[in-house]
């Protein structure tokens, strides 16, 4: 697993299962967003006999398969928050009651507003990132899983477990299938916004902050660029 520290300033942060999850999860999100968009706005019509094609069927299959993988991945990630190292729980349990945490958030906001010259050092995620990941990614994903399975249960029928567990209460809650579709679609865009910000900030921090970011998610090692506290 963790071979040798690449430098004396390095700390092992992301363990192997977590890095695999991150990669699989990213792929799932791409597949889900692309196929989801194509389900709402399908590709140009194909010609010939219906029996010769299964385009929409394959797109929907990819969406459902990726959705299952995504859900199982998130459940695994929740397990890993407990089984993994101390950094693994930040995603699910940000220290929202700690005053120190909110001071960190405020510091990060000023850092991104160009008001602070020197960034802080963080072993795991910086507090602002933790906040965004928790509320946009985790809760956004839970919302997508619940509404997604509710829509899936419509197709699998009223005797399916998906219908019993999700559709039966989600559809009346939103006032019908059409509204659930709209919300599922809107939150897709919310997650896309998160991904754009997430990737941009990761690249920016890698260049400007005092620690490695991009290489960390690949190797697991957080390398600090200086010895100052």
């Amino acid at each position: 697993m963790s071979a040798h520290a690449p430098s004396p300033n390095a700390v092992y942060v992301y363990e192997v299962p977590l890095r695999i999850w991150h990669g699989v999860n990213a792929l799932c999100l791409i597949v889900l967003a692309v196929t989801g968009y194509l389900i709402a706005s399908p590709l140009p019509s194909v010609g010939g006999e219906a029996s010769e094609h299964f385009l929409m069927g394959y797109i929907r299959f990819a969406h459902f398969a990726a959705a299952y993988l995504f859900t199982i991945g998130l459940l695994f990630r929740l397990y890993w928050a407990i089984a993994g190292n101390e950094h693994a729980k930040e995603l699910f349990f940000p220290p929202l009651l700690s005053k120190n945490f909110w001071c960190g958030v405020w510091h990060e906001i000023r850092w991104y507003a160009f008001l602070v010259k020197e960034p802080n050092k963080y072993l795991g995620h910086n507090p602002l990132a933790m906040l965004f990941m928790h509320f946009m990614f985790v809760w956004g994903s839970v919302f997508m899983i619940v509404t997604g399975f509710a829509l899936y249960g419509e197709g699998s029928g009223q005797n399916s477990w998906q219908y019993a567990v999700f559709s039966s209460w989600v559809l009346p809650l939103f006032g019908g299938s059409q509204s659930v579709h709209s919300w599922h679609h809107l939150v897709m865009w919310l997650i896309i916004c998160f991904v754009i910000a997430h990737v941009y900030v990761a690249v920016r921090e890698d260049k400007l902050s005092r620690q490695s970011v991009l290489s960390t998610i690949v190797t697991g090692w957080r390398v600090f660029k200086d010895d100052k506290p």
């Binding site: 019509s45 219906a50 299964f54 929409m56 009223q158 039966s168 209460w169 059409q178 579709h181 919310l190």
Partner: protein, 362 residues
């Protein structure tokens, strides 16, 4: 002695043969095995007819029109004999005070045994003054009749969900039956649709008579046997959807070939009804079969879900007419542009920072 449904039908000139056909048809549409046709026939012959009080609130009478225009003469006669005899202000012979007296009579005579069928809904604004029947607000008549009924059937989307008169901004506060405050606590069967399918309506009443209980309802209060599947799941054009063959314009080749109407805004994938199985006018056709997408008329608030011809719902909260893609795409573009600008400023700052840090470098 109270007469049976069979007595009424015979008096209307329906032959026994036709009566038995009706029983088989009803058993089939309820999803029961053929042996139940005999059970239904026996119930129809021997049990006293269920009196039905049919009230009209704010509505367009399309539910009644659906019955009397039913292509199936047998079904039509059955419906008329079953439902309209006691009180239905559109088709009954009596008028004025005589007609209104029938309501009191039924309420007294059949206390706790009659079915209250409601077509349309009461407007609650201005104490219900937007719908006056016999000099009184409809909401009062509804509450009075509901007090002693056995069960309420909400016919059509008006009674079930509110329909067009309850669409935003709903100036008269038209309110579906189950949301009327102060209404007696009775079981409510929603039979939504604008209008509902005639065969579905008779089958619901036949079920109550035959089995002495209300049909199984889903979470939203609709009979499960007719509203448990989407139009889309039983649509005969579904293979074209799975293949990715869509009508893109009303006059293109795909439209002539009868391909999927998804891109033309068909609401089949989000609508629960029996149109694609029972169909309309003696099983002749239904909207999608005639080349137009489903408009989702049996769904809650279908008037407020945007155009009939768009898949994506219009979202009015954002001031201008938008849909999920317009809202989300704009948000993503703003975040992306924000990131780009931020990156530019960051790079500039860094360049300055490096310059000032190493003054002697140049």
């Amino acid at each position: 002695m109270i007469e049976s449904f069979y007595d009424v039908m015979r008096r209307q000139g329906i032959t026994r043969r036709s009566f038995l056909k009706f029983c088989s048809l009803t058993a089939a549409s309820l999803g029961l095995s053929p042996s139940y046709a005999a059970t239904i026939a026996e119930a129809m012959e021997n049990k006293p007819r269920i009196p039905v009080l049919w009230l009209h609130g704010l509505e367009c009478t399309c539910c009644s029109e659906s019955f009397i225009r039913s292509g199936h003469p047998l079904a039509k006669d059955v419906i008329l004999s079953m439902l309209s005899l006691d009180y239905d202000d559109t088709i009954m012979a009596a008028a004025g005070h005589n007609a209104e007296a029938i309501i009191d009579e039924i309420v007294d005579k059949y206390k706790g045994n009659y079915i209250l069928a409601v077509e349309g809904n009461p407007p609650l604004a201005e104490d219900g003054m937007y719908c006056i029947i016999g000099g009184k607000p409809f909401v009062d008549q509804l509450k009075y009749a509901a007090e002693s009924c056995k069960a309420i059937i909400s016919w059509g989307s008006c009674a079930s969900w509110g329909c067009v008169q309850a669409a935003k901004p709903n100036p008269t506060r038209a309110t579906p039956v189950h949301k009327v405050p102060g209404l007696a606590n009775k079981p409510i069967i929603k039979v939504p649709g604008c209008p509902p399918i005639a065969e579905v309506m008779t089958a619901v009443v036949a079920y109550i008579l035959t089995f002495d209980k209300l049909p199984t309802l889903d979470k939203q209060g609709r009979p499960q046997m007719f509203y448990s599947q989407r139009i889309h799941d039983k649509c005969y054009r579904r293979p074209h959807f799975d293949a990715g063959q869509f009508v893109e314009h009303w006059d293109d080749e795909a439209a002539r070939q009868g391909h999927c109407l998804y891109k033309m805004g068909c609401k089949g994938p989000t609508t629960y009804n029996a149109c694609s199985t029972v169909r309309w006018n003696e099983g002749l056709s239904f909207p999608i079969q005639s080349g137009h997408g489903c408009i989702g008329c049996s769904e809650d608030g279908f008037w407020d879900k945007g155009s009939f011809y768009d898949r994506l719902t219009t979202i009015n909260q954002f001031g201008i007419e938008a849909n999920a893609d317009a809202v989300g795409g704009t948000a993503a573009a703003i975040v992306g542009a924000g990131a780009a600008v931020h990156a530019g400023i960051s790079a500039l700052n860094r360049a300055k920072h490096v310059d000032s840090k190493q003054p002697g470098a140049e």
